[in-house]
């Protein structure tokens, strides 16, 4: 059983399309991060969300933290080929340790 379930696992879309990827759990998280990872490199932080219901925008990316702090979503508007990559959600569990628990990631491919 995965503590953080990401879906879809793979997503291939055309340039200009919108997309949403999801990160779900049955556990409550005190904070949740979204990272992007390129092959052979480390995860690069995109955003941190800590408050239930929080919405953060980063240019064409919109991140939402669920009201119950058990889930999150990443929405990309008008995707571009440069958005291609592996998107990881990771969080620290409420009342737990500070270690990050990672999802398996969503591999996004944006075709020109």
């Amino acid at each position: 059983t995965q503590l953080l379930e990401q879906s879809p696992q793979f997503l291939s879309i055309q340039e200009g399309e919108n997309l949403t990827v999801y990160c779900n759990s049955s556990s409550v998280f005190s904070s949740l991060q979204w990272y992007r990872q390129e092959p052979g490199e480390g995860p690069v932080l995109l955003v941190t969300v800590v408050t239930g219901g929080e919405v953060k925008k980063l240019k064409r990316l919109t991140f939402q933290f669920g009201d119950a702090r058990k889930d999150s979503s990443l929405h990309i508007t008008a995707a571009q080929p440069g958005d291609t990559g592996l998107y990881l959600c990771a969080g620290t569990r409420q009342g737990g340790s500070e270690k990050l628990v990672f999802g398996k990631g969503t591999k996004l491919t944006v075709n020109p």
Binding site: V50, S97, E98, K99
Partner: protein, 114 residues
């Protein structure tokens, strides 16, 4: 922008040998971490380190592993008597002292055990 740096980028070692992976965390950060990622699998927590001692370790982090902060800038992971299954990407991360601050990752060391 400050970043976490790791060396070497790739380490090839014979099974049974010892390896030391090095990390320079972001300078004002106080919490340090090691994670690993076996090829095709998710990133897994190994150990956290604060105030010169281990604050938490996973079941992966057995007696084969040790961490050290030998000076004010470096943070090292030592793996003794390496096994084939230790082959993975090893990531160092650090974060600021305030709660809910995110962890920032280095680019990792690819460890290949032959």
């Amino acid at each position: 922008e400050p970043e976490v740096t790791q060396t070497p980028s790739h380490q090839v070692t014979q099974m049974g040998q010892e390896v030391i992976l090095r990390c320079v965390p972001i300078s004002n950060h106080l919490y340090f971490y090691w994670y690993r990622q076996i090829l095709g699998q998710k990133v897994e927590f190994l150990v956290s380190f604060y105030n010169n001692e281990i604050s938490e370790k996973s079941e992966i982090f057995d007696d084969q592993f040790s961490v050290e902060r030998p000076d004010g800038s470096n943070f090292t992971l030592k793996i003794r008597s390496t096994k084939l299954e230790d082959s993975a990407m090893y990531f160092c991360a650090s974060r600021d002292m305030y709660s809910n601050q995110p962890q920032h990752f280095g680019d990792g060391t690819r460890l290949s055990i032959l």
